[in-house]
Symmetry: none
Subunit: 416 residues, 2 copies
């Protein structure tokens, strides 16, 4: 079985000028990947004859499947259709059925077709039209010496419909593709370089069928394993074996795989142990609560949270002692301990967590520079604390504090 | 003045496989556009020697500026640095100052450099390093016959820092580009199609120097005006005139321009009127608090918030009447009214706001489908409420509820 390669061409000035984020090629990549078709390259070009013709030629030389999005509107700056006709040396043909369909759809909205719209029913003779349920420009399917060219509109909803309704089912029929299996292994609390060092020998001994990629983020590193070959069962076994080895070697940093996130993992652990959580956030200002409640079903284990931004609320609503804050300040170990213990009690949760820090850019003092952050976790028996010195901007300080505290919750629950 | 062209190269299997959305090239495009540098093409290639070397060559033939992101990590699958050294036929050089800086940064976190990290201080002789404040891989700046090659990490935060701190300022110095003035006008609460219809005549009469782009989001539409030419003063005047016209025609939907966000606008209004805010969030689970506290200085006007996820906390901590929840349910007008009034009182704020809804995908009842959402605003005299029926996924329902309630706060404060 030979590998099937695709190249994606996005057409449009708006993408090149940074006015539109190209989510089309992201969607198409992921869908092709599921079928085992490898996207070899993506190119974005301007609405410009020379650039587009060159992109068609390069893609044809490079891939088996060429998917073009954009440039299919009814106006003059939309060049994809005339240029594909030129590229395939094809005359144009009016599709009466498409015209009739357009006429009906316009009539429904009480409108008549104008010349521009009528033109959309004219397509290169050498293509098969692809139905566009949500718009007026049909897609086009060309075949040439075993290679397939697909052209679809740039409007995401129209493109998605065509992919799901026509393109992907036809690809499944035509192409025999290798089996691809992906596994994402997600770690927290270990930097990429240390992780890679610890795993060097394992990586060097990976079976030839498996490729590895590191995808780093804020205090998190994801590892993507991809197995490719012909025998799905065998590949799945290979992947499972390697994931087992990863758990053996760096298991304490792994919080989950594939779709799971750190907060959902904590949810699983809490459910498993029938425990509940509440949080008192100062510097993270609601972000931890947001991460937790972004997961459906979080009401099972999340009691609620409070972000008493002002000290009087830490005292009067949450119950921190006035003297503690006066003596040690809001950003102190003593204060986060009381915050975690108080929220645990006030909210009737098994575990209370808290944050207090200087997210910046203002608020620093001589002893406490921006990024100074205390967090605490109270479980009714012990209260743990951690002190961090982050050096990011406000938003990232908030994120990494949240990730770090959630990781502490994970570690604590895992060892219970 | 000749046009300056750029080509962007994103390196990474994870983009081609549809696992990572390429927001880097979107950001870079927009930033270059502001400088009047035209992005001619974007290419995404695999972590693969042949594909990368070909991309370098094509880009060099095609553009004046070549910007490469990704492939700079310390691990084996990161090829950008060795391949650029090969492309420029350059030996490697250890930068002692970078090594020393890495060592210090590691020491601060109580860690030692390993071999992989040390390798990051080694760069091709022919490049100038670009400082990476947020990560361990320096960027690289090459020049060759008037063309500039830039290589930066794929981690968005690190790339952005390098762009803003080094790359863009240097481009401004080196390249003489036309004067470009951008103004972003931000609206909330009006759909793009209606906004465009209202502004049709205005848009048709825009001066030739000004280009308009609509950038729609969740309940928000941004309009970007771009003036280009040679006379900065004249262009600024043109832009100001058109922005004035926008305020005349759709001013009540405009919440700000350029860097402002909806929550920071509310902060301004609260400061102006010397008022404070507190929020009680059920379905938005901390997200509104997060939006508010993401703005530095929010402690001036934000008292704090609570997200009593469970009904007993709405009753026992926040003070909603038990009978109200029993009779009308948590997702009801009666409950959000009490939540807003209670949080206002409990947190000692001038204005209290609240949310309760079914974010989904679970939790729907016969009368209350997913997306049913109540919000309230209490100012001590009146309590306003709004009912929405959103039809998005969980995350988007949370976002649009937050935006809608913040817009209600904005409207209320603006009319005070």
């Amino acid at each position: 079985m030979k590998d099937i390669y695709a190249e994606l061409i996005s057409v449009g000035d708006e993408i090149l000028y940074g006015q539109t984020l190209d989510t089309n090629s992201y969607f198409i990549s992921a869908e092709l990947d599921k079928l085992g078709i490898r996207v070899k390259r993506k190119v974005t070009v301007a609405d410009n004859q020379e650039a587009m013709m060159r992109a068609f030629k390069e893609a044809e030389d490079n891939a088996d499947i060429i998917i073009i999005t954009g440039g299919l509107g009814p106006t003059k700056d939309d060049l994809t259709k005339p240029l594909l006709a030129k590229y395939f040396d094809s005359g144009m043909k009016l599709h009466e059925d498409i015209l009739e369909d357009l006429r009906k759809r316009f009539a429904k909205r009480g409108r008549e077709l104008n010349e521009l719209n009528k033109g959309q029913a004219e397509l290169p003779e050498k293509c098969t039209p692809i139905e566009n349920k949500y718009g007026t420009a049909p897609g086009m399917w060309f075949e040439k010496e075993g290679k397939v060219f697909i052209s679809m509109p740039g409007v995401p909803k129209e493109m998605k419909y065509m992919m799901e309704d026509t393109v992907l089912p036809k690809f499944k029929e035509i192409f025999k593709t290798p089996v691809l299996i992906h596994k994402m292994v997600k770690t927290v609390g270990i930097p990429e370089s240390i992780l890679a060092e610890r795993l060097e020998e394992w990586e060097n001994n990976l079976p030839n069928e498996i490729k590895l990629a590191y995808l780093p983020g804020l205090n998190q590193v994801k590892m993507r394993l991809t197995a490719s070959g012909e025998d799905e069962k065998y590949l799945q076994k290979l992947i499972d074996q390697e994931v087992d080895k990863l758990y053996e070697q760096v298991g304490k940093y792994i919080y989950g795989t594939d779709e799971s996130n750190l907060a959902s993992k904590i949810g699983e652990l809490l459910n498993e142990k029938k425990l509940t959580l509440a949080c008192a956030e100062s510097c993270t200002g609601g972000y931890i609560a947001h991460l937790i409640t972004s997961n459906s079903g979080s009401s099972e284990y999340y009691r609620g949270g409070i972000n008493p931004y002002h000290n009087d609320l830490k005292i009067n609503v949450l119950g921190v002692k006035k003297e503690t804050i006066e003596q040690y300040g809001a950003v102190s170990e003593e204060t986060v301990i009381e915050m975690a213990e108080c929220v645990r009690e006030l909210f009737g949760a098994d575990i209370g967590i808290s944050t207090s820090g200087i997210a910046g850019p203002t608020g620093a003092t001589k002893d406490k520079p921006v990024g100074t952050t205390w967090v605490a976790l109270a479980d009714g028996k012990n209260t743990q604390t951690k002190l961090y010195h982050f050096q990011f901007d406000r938003q990232s300080n908030i994120e990494i504090t949240s990730n770090s505290l959630l990781n502490l919750v994970r570690q604590t629950l895992s060892s219970k």
